[in-house]
């Protein structure tokens, strides 16, 4: 028990700060980049651009994050673009996430009835005003619960970046195992630490779902 509080917990908590940093940073990239992609995809009307975005999204979504991280971390280094592990983790998970959030925002936009933009055009708004003032705020509200779910998933997925030596929870767990061999205790503590971080987030998502889920009274 003493070993738990003196060694394991401090180690895992140090890792948790990196876990949280990587989660927040890649969430920020994913949420903004995905929104821009969704805007362009929904409203540009340029076929070539649309195709490029679709290709980007499908490429990122149909390949494991681990694979993307290895390409980014080991692959690019081999041709002279070395990125250190934490930035590689943030960029990798951020890009993968942008594909996820792009789809989330797009379904937010497509959930809005045609009447919403028609009414805005009818009062004399320009297309840009329609998108910014009328459609985006609503799409964002529809997207909030699934974005919350994505954030929860992302928090867990950061465990993968231990494989490119980013010193988060699982990384610390593994290195402590190598030095102490307390595998059962260490890995169950790690699992519980994730659970302790996920539960409040899951509770928040459930509240979002209650507040915004399916309540698009258009």
């Amino acid at each position: 028990m003493e070993f738990l509080t003196s060694t394991i917990l401090p180690g895992l908590l140090t890792g948790a700060t990196v876990t949280i940093t990587v989660t927040l940073a890649s969430l920020t990239i994913a949420a903004t980049l995905g929104f821009l992609l969704a805007l362009v995809r929904e409203f540009s009307g340029l076929r070539l651009l649309n195709f490029a975005i679709d290709a980007y999204v499908e490429y990122l979504r149909n390949i494991p994050a681990l694979s993307h991280l290895f390409i980014l971390y080991f692959g690019l280094a081999s041709i002279g673009f070395a990125i250190t592990s934490i930035p590689a983790a943030i960029i990798g998970l951020g890009l993968v996430g942008s594909a996820v959030t792009c789809d989330i925002y797009r379904s937010g936009f497509s959930a809005l009835g045609k009447g919403q933009s028609e009414a805005a055009l009818a009062v004399g708004m320009t297309p840009m005003q329609v998108i910014w003032l009328i459609l985006s705020p609503q799409a964002f509200r529809v997207a909030l619960p699934p974005l919350g779910n994505y954030a929860l998933q992302l928090l867990k997925d950061t465990s993968v970046v231990s494989a490119i030596a980013a010193p988060e929870i699982m990384f610390y767990a593994r290195s402590m195992v190598t030095s102490t061999f307390q595998t059962t205790l260490i890995y169950s503590s790690a699992a519980l630490l994730y659970l302790a971080m996920s539960l409040p987030l899951a509770w928040g998502v459930a509240r979002l779902e209650k507040r915004f889920g399916g309540a698009t009274d258009v």
Partner: protein, 223 residues
């Protein structure tokens, strides 16, 4: 660009067979893991509707736990952690069990969403024309549920397939681990990891497209 691409051609006969073999392992753990997830998920879904509060509580706790803990942590716990209390798994069975248990929670949600999407009137109408309970379920309800869950089931499988890459971290010799071995042998990590990625894509992309098609069709069907 041409130089870059020519590397793939140059090593195709050396990498190709080894990665193909590893892909079989990836497919195997994914399919077995998914089969486990489908069964356990169904049990969980039924438990969540059970009249016993204990069964409901256990199912709910299960879903909360596996929704909150990374698959990687589950795999480590099973493969590295359980031997500490005397339960020893080989790497591949550990991966199958870990993936299966983790995704069972998701499958349970998929089943529940499918069942709850069937309006009560469907049961009532089926009963009122005189169907037996079994007939109600198999002729009227399940065909509708199947239509609704087809797409999310495939989406869940693709997610599981992608997470099967984590098995490389518990020494299962699947695509990513074989890729790492090749990368150290040939010092061409960029090419090799791209190849690995493409192999996943080749399986996952058609499935994702199928899921998209099915979900569109299911939506049209319910209107």
């Amino acid at each position: 660009m041409f130089e870059f691409l020519s590397v793939f051609v140059q090593y195709a006969d050396q990498w190709g067979p080894r990665l193909a073999e590893a892909a079989v392992v990836s497919a195997r753990i994914s399919l077995l893991g998914f089969a486990l997830a489908a069964v356990v998920g169904l049990v969980l879904a039924l438990m969540q509707d059970a009249s016993s509060a204990l069964l409901r509580g256990v199912a709910k706790g299960y879903v909360i736990f596996f929704r909150g803990v990374p698959v990687l942590a589950i795999l480590f716990l099973i493969y590295f952690g359980l031997p500490g209390i005397g339960v020893v798994f080989d790497a591949e069975p550990a991966a199958v069990v870990g993936l299966g248990l983790a995704f069972a929670a998701q499958m349970a949600e998929v089943y529940r969403a499918g069942l709850s999407a069937i309006p009560k009137g469907q049961w009532e109408a089926a009963r009122s024309v005189g169907f037996l309970p079994g007939q109600v379920l198999f002729l009227i309800i399940l065909p509708q549920v199947a239509r609704i869950v087809a797409a999310p089931v495939i989406v869940t499988f693709v997610a599981l397939l992608k997470d099967s890459s984590l098995a490389s971290l518990i020494t299962v010799n699947e695509l990513v681990l074989e890729g790492r071995a090749l990368a150290t042998e040939y010092f061409l990590p960029l090419h090799i990891y791209i190849w690995v990625g493409v192999m996943y894509f080749i399986i996952a992309f058609p499935l994702s497209m199928l899921a998209k098609l099915l979900s569109r069709r299911a939506r049209l069907g319910t209107r």
